[in-house]
Symmetry: C2
Subunit: 235 residues, 2 copies
DNA sequence: GTCTATAGTGCGATAGAC
DNA sequence: GTCTATCGCACTATAGAC
């Protein structure tokens, strides 16, 4: 587990986007009018990718359906067979991301006994997941404030949930004497870890430009975080 | 210097927004039609604050001039006496932020001799500046990708410049044996410091909700960063 | 200097042919 | 299932009264 790389992660957790799109097609709550599932899935994948790319370049609001029509090579009318409004498109994309995250985390077994390994595994899982879904993570961070109230609550809950995972590991480690963290700095430390993990998908352009890989970043992040939290008795 | 608090910083570097607006009024490159400077400055302050507030809630693109008109209690026609287009408004707001940052950094004397104090001063200066201009920093991060090419380049240059400041301090400290940083991890460490500083203005809602102050955050950030970079010989 | 009224544009969304 | 053509609306921006 310790030596898990991004490639290992992808092999284990890779969920084909097609499968997720198939789920969405069958979901009664959306109004996808296409009956032929293969056609629907194929085009949904195209639409999602195009939406993320256009939105991440100029913002979802600023992306017109005419832009999307051009990029997907589907007419305006055809697009409306896949969603009933631009807002529903946003909704489907958000739910698609949550579905993948849920599935990935469900498959992730919290089987680590050693607290230090638990922290490492949590860091890697979060980094690798955000790498796999980088456009979606970037999108949901950037568009968060424009989203309808229900979506924004989900994002905040997710932010706090992730933080809680780290806070619990830190607390556990502190109790066992493995970590040394001031009592009133527990949440701050968890936030700081989150900030480090988030930087990878928010500033990906910078890291890619320097030729840094996700595995190098994970290694560096783990090393830095351990320097902060491991008790000095480690030597 | 070490014990500088946010209040000290504000007293030393506080630049009245009014003064910056006065600068902007006199700037020939903008087409502000109001001749009475006092009226112009007063309303510009109102317009800037309203724009930042509305944009940070729902995005600049999504904010209509009707929204802005309502919030500022100025009519649509009146607004156009202060800028010639929505894009120019964006331009003026960006330039207003840069002006304040330039002035603040110019006043900041890099008088520290001790390398450890230099790192602390740099961290505090960046945190305090982003606290003073939090809505602007948040705005320019969130709207960066929607901005015209010239503005986006300026933001990227600023990101890399800040990072370079930290990289130089780290390199200097490493040469002197005060810091212990692997050679190939210098830029990663600088990026990590930036990420920690950035989290304060990006997730301000979270920290404020928990009742954490900027001074506590600064203290915690300095402690954490020093744990990562100080060589073990410090004890 | 600020207002109201409106011109002109491009958007999201729909209708109906194929 | 996909297309073209078009409706109605809300936006940015302007004109002209006060």
């Amino acid at each position: 587990m310790t030596a898990m790389t991004y490639d290992d992660f992808k092999k284990t957790f890779m969920l084909s986007v097609e499968d997720i799109c198939r789920d969405i097609c069958r979901d009664q709550q959306y109004s996808i009018k296409i009956k032929n599932e293969d056609v629907a899935v194929k085009n949904l994948v195209i639409i999602f990718n195009a939406t993320l790319e256009l939105s991440n370049r100029k913002g979802f609001q600023a992306m017109s359906l005419r832009d999307l029509s051009e990029k997907t090579e589907l007419s305006l009318g055809a697009l409306y067979a896949y969603f009933s409004s631009k807002e529903e498109l946003l909704d489907i994309i958000m739910s698609q991301g949550w579905r993948i995250i849920d599935k990935a985390l469900t498959r992730q077994i919290a089987g680590e006994k050693d607290i230090r390994e638990m922290l490492r595994a949590a860091i890697k899982t979060h980094l690798y997941l955000s790498e796999m879904l980088q456009p979606w993570f970037f999108f949901s961070f950037m568009e968060a404030k424009n989203l309808p109230g229900e979506q924004i609550k989900k994002i905040i809950r997710s932010e706090l949930f992730t933080e809680k995972i780290f806070a619990d590991i830190l607390q556990d480690g502190a109790n066992k004497g493995v970590f040394s963290i001031r009592k009133n700095e527990l949440m701050l430390t968890a936030s700081l870890i989150k900030a480090i993990l988030q930087d990878w998908y928010l500033k990906r352009w910078k890291y890619v430009r320097r030729g840094e890989t996700i595995d190098e970043y994970a290694r560096f992040a783990i090393g830095s975080i351990e320097k902060m939290v491991l008790s000095d008795a480690r030597y």
